[in-house]
Symmetry: C2
Subunit: 154 residues, 2 copies
DNA sequence: ATACATGCAAACATTTTGCTTTGGC
DNA sequence: GCCAAAGCAAAATGTTTGCATGTAT
């Protein structure tokens, strides 16, 4: 589904709106609001969290609409699911200029973004050659106990 | 919950049985069968798949029992969930002597195990120091299109 | 005006729990 | 025999769809 004619070049509301337009998709209040919420988020959000935050600005947008918009953004390559090892899906926008991985506390759930230290990106091309795969991407999360939750010395 | 007095030293039915005993847990037909299924599996299995395979050997064990046994094995550190980016959880046994990561085809779902090439394990200690986390582990999956599914040149 | 997007409601899938019965120790 | 584990059934949770209405183009 991602249309190579309209790549996302930077992470901004305007760039995403342009991409939607490029796919003949409509610019609606719900889409603008959800993208805006994701742009402001400092960690991946669940559908429920997105739904709540959208409701904060007035009347709630529908949960199914949140689901459909996130599915759309995912199919367009604008957003992606993040593995939080929980019972539901978490989403974040995909920044074409800056990759990051996640460090997640298994106790309190706090998410630390690890920017520009990815030990894996360079391996993807190697894997494509070695295994004959194409379009290889990765999902890398570290899980552990953050300093606040680690009670080894209490 | 994992009891340091009874670490899993190798991946075998006997070693896992010993670990269950060490925790005063009972050795039941269901537990033996599910561990045996997981030992035979060459890829992570969903609860439903485990349930099906267990049913194959006679009368079906209960789905809730499969769930409870997998939750137990996970809490003991014998098994772990693997992120397959699907609608349900997949489990595999954790081999204390040999780490592997996964290469998953987004089209057909085929899973390739990548043994002994993990580019990340060595980073865990660094992350513990840098971020003050403890007991850091990781989850790393590569997603792409396998040679059979890649239709770029057809 | 014409689709596409939304809201609402319901269906579906998966996970999880309560409680009685069974069986490992 | 005792208590943990299993079986059964139902609840809880999260995801997905159908269809009538609203709205961006």
């Amino acid at each position: 589904m991602p249309n190579p004619s309209f790549p996302l070049r930077r992470l901004s509301l305007e760039a995403i709106v342009d991409m939607l337009r490029g796919h003949q998709l409509r610019i609606t209040k719900n889409r603008l609001e959800i993208v805006s919420i994701l742009l402001r988020a400092d960690r991946p959000l669940s559908l429920e969290e997105i739904h709540e935050r959208a409701a904060g600005d007035g009347q709630a947008s529908d949960y199914a609409t949140v689901f459909r918009i996130m599915t759309l953004l995912e199919n367009l390559g604008i957003a992606q699911k993040v593995n939080m090892n929980r019972g539901c899906s978490y989403y974040e926008l995909l920044n074409p200029n800056q990759h990051h991985d996640h460090l997640i506390c298994t106790e309190c759930g706090k998410v630390t973004l690890m920017i520009n230290s990815c030990p894996v990106s360079s391996v993807e091309r190697t894997i494509e050659k070695k295994y004959g795969f194409s379009h290889v991407r990765h999902s890398l999360e570290f899980f552990g106990e953050c300093p606040d939750c680690n009670d080894d010395y209490r």
